[in-house]
Structure formats: C-alpha cells, structure tokens
C-alpha cells in the first residue's frame, strides 16, 4: 500500500512537472505581454457596443503582436496608474496615447513616436467664453490626472501667476460630464479625443487649440528587459510599409 502510494505521488509529481514543462515551452515560443490602456479615450482606446476593447492604439497593438509573433492581453487601467504599473512590472506595455515627455522618459522607455497631437480647449456653447477668457479670470479648467494637458495648465498658467484653477479627474469622460454639468468652465485634452467628444455632445464646442506638438509613443519598463521595444518599432514600420497603418488611421480618424 505504502509503496503504491509513494509511486502514485511520484507519478503525480512527474506529471505535474511535465505539464509545467509543456507550459514553459509554449510560453517560450509565444510570449504574452500585458498591454495597459485607459479605455475611455476615443478614438485611441474605447469599448464598442459589444463590449470589445477597440481603438487605434489597441488595434495597432494587436496587429504588431500578430506580425511579431507574440500574444497580448489588454487590461483597462486608470491613466495615471499605467506608468507606475509598467515600472513595477505589472504590465509590459503602456498603450494609451502617451505623449513622450522628459519626465516620463526618466522612468520608462518609449517606442518611436507614432502620432502627434496638440491640446484642445473645450467649453460649453452657452458659456460665452473664448480660449483666453476660459483660461483666466478665475475659471476652472478640468483635465485628466497625469495627462500632459493637466501639466500644461499647471506649468504654463498657474505657476506663472495666471488666475485659473485646475481640477483633475480619474477619467477624461468625467471631466467632460462635469463641464456639461456646469461645474467647471473648460476642459483641456488632446485634440483627437476632444474631437471625439465634440462629435458626441451637442452642447460643447472647441474654444481653440494650443499648439504643443506632442509626440505619442508606446512605453515599456525602463531598460526594456523583455526586449519588446524593437518588436514594436519593427512592427510599426511593417504596418506602415504594408499600408495597414493608413487603413487603421482611416478607420478611426476618417479622412
């Protein structure tokens, strides 16, 4: 009996090892990278009517994964939690319309830039404000926490003594909702996302654009320990060469 039991345990252990071995092999063949994105930012990342994660960034991520032979798992994460999550190794790639900035570049590594954008100022149609008055006279500007728009208001206006208040939100739609509700006077956000809001909401308009010339990049952990960046850069080049890139641009941005 005891001998049998021992044998059984041995067989069980070997079996387990075998299974883990197989898993190891399959993992080694096709790694899975976790892609973190703040999926409330159309047209770069959004949820479609069926509940799927779609958007320009995410489709590009999927196409590159196909081309470069790895799997991805997309997770929805608050924007300001993506970089800390990538730094701590919880996520492998950040794909959420990240502007390449010096501050961010100190803690993560960026891919080659893939998009350029400026900041747009949204106001309510009935507010009677313009881009100058909306950003002064003690008005409150909403922005998503951790975005370059929030930093712009703080660094270029508040720190220089302009009489404007900044209110930050967990997600971009919350800021727009608060603008519609009349709790704030304006919202600063990247131009493409602002245009997506304009298309959806009738009571807001664009007061103007602040030319910041920001470049978006995908980001990975500092030093790229898993060697993901070359694959992303290579995949982007391939997508552009094959014309697939332009098709995705057309799909999400029209033109």
């Amino acid at each position: 009996m005891r001998k049998n039991a021992k044998r059984l345990i041995m067989v069980g252990m070997l079996g387990t090892l075998f299974i883990f071995g197989l898993m190891g092999v399959s993992l080694a063949e096709k790694p899975t990278y976790i892609v973190a994105s703040d999926i409330a930012w159309p047209p770069f990342e959004m949820v479609d009517a069926q509940g799927n994660y779609v958007g320009f960034d995410l489709d590009v991520m999927r196409e590159i994964a196909k081309l470069e032979g790895y799997n991805i798992k997309i997770v929805d994460v608050a924007f300001d939690s993506i970089i800390p999550g990538v730094v701590s190794g919880k996520y492998d790639i950040g794909a959420s319309g990240f502007t390449i900035t010096e501050k961010r570049d100190k803690v993560v590594d960026f891919s080659k830039p893939y998009w350029s954008s400026d900041q747009a100022i949204l106001i309510r149609k009935d507010s009677g404000l313009n881009i100058i008055t909306a950003l002064s006279q003690g008005h409150t500007v909403g922005a998503q926490r951790g975005t370059t728009g929030a930093s712009w208001i703080k660094d270029n206006l508040i720190k220089k003594g302009v009489n404007v208040k900044l209110k930050v939100y967990e997600t971009y739609p919350m800021a727009v909702l608060d603008l519609l509700n009349g709790n704030i006077d304006a919202v600063i956000q990247d131009e493409p996302a602002s245009r997506a809001s304009l298309a959806k909401e009738k009571n807001i308009e664009m007061a103007g654009i602040i030319i910041t010339g920001e470049q978006f990049g995908f980001l990975v952990k500092e030093g790229d320990p898993k060697g993901i960046l070359p694959k992303i850069n290579d995949g982007m080049a391939k997508l552009k060469a094959s014309g697939k890139w332009d098709k995705l641009v057309e799909k999400y941005f029209g033109k």
């Binding site: 300001d80 800390p84 730094v87 803690v107 930050v168 608060d178 509700n181």
Partner: protein, 221 residues
Amino acid sequence: MSLLSLIKEISPQLLEGTLVTLQLTGFAISLGFVIGMFLALGRLYGRGPVRKFCIGYIEFFRGTPLLVQLFIVYYGLPRYGIKVPSIVAALLGLGLNSAAYQAEYFRGAIQSIDEGQMMAARALGMKKLQAILNILIPQALRIVIPSWSNELIYTLKYSSVAYIIGAPELMAQAKFIAAENFRYFEVFLVVAFIYLVIVSLLSWILRIIENRVRIPGLQTS
C-alpha cells in the same frame, strides 16, 4: 532625489490636502451627528411614518457604497438641476452617510440604558421628551463614545474616496503629485503617515474625554 528633499518638496501641497481632509471630516461628522441623533430618536420613539422613514434612511445609506452615493450626488443630480461644488458634494455624501451609522450607535447606546430609568422619570412626573433629553441622552452620549470614535476614524479615512469627485483633499493631492513625479511609493508612504498621525491624535483625545465623562459605577467597556 532623496526622501527628505522629496518630502520637503511635496509637503506644502499635502498639507493643503490635509486641511481639506480635516475640514471635510469635521463638517461631515457634525452633520452626521445632528441628523444621526434625530434618526436614532425617530427610530426609537417615532410614530409609524417617522419610524419607517428613519429605518428606510438608515438602510439606504448603510446598504449602498459611499462611492455610489458620491457619484449620485455629484454626477447624477446636476441633470435634475441640483448643482453643488465637489467639496460640498463630498461633505453632504460623507455626512449623510455617517448619519446612518451614528444613528445606529446612538440607538444602541440609548437602548443599553435600563428601561427602569424611563419609568422612574415618568413616575416623577416628567414628560417623555423631558426624560429623553434630561435622563437618557446625557448618559447615551457618554456610553456611545467608544463606538462613536470608530465612526470618527472611519469618516476621516473614508473621506479619501472624495478624491474621485475632485474634492482637493489629501488623497487627491497625493494622486496629483504622484501622477507627476511617479514617486508613488514615497508619496503614499507620507500620506499613510499623515493619516496615522491624525487618527492616533483623535483616538488619544477621545480616550481622554471618555475617561473624563465616565459614568461612575457604570461599566461601559
């Protein structure tokens, strides 16, 4: 950047947030105290509809997450023309929520007083309201201190969810700073320390009060 210089750099903003947190907690706990006392009395001594309203209120606010209540007040009500700044929404949400809990603590304290006292008071010719105000409440307020101090501490800590509707309290300031400098570990360590200091201070003060106003001969703990 060393930890010390980081703390030096972020402390003015965190201090600002701490002040808002303290104000928020102070107003919310006071609002909750007043409403909670009425709710407790209404639930214990009110007639039909009053009693039912009090029970309904308590069940609603205890049965739904504070976060949900804050979203209703701040993002939901403006659609029906009720607009409040985020700090006021946070204060209302926290206060109305705390009222439900405080009501139950008060009710427990009042019910722990021997029924004979009420009977004795009535026998001496006091009206019911007089007996409640002069005999029951003064004792209940002392008996309730240990459990009420829990509520105070909870309210202080729960005020941190107000960041989500944009109230510029401690948590909101910390998230804002961390989103800019990416020093999450250090920033939130400092924030945890601030909360800990305030909570310790509050429980210390409440313990002193509890000992001062102890009812001689009555074991409450």
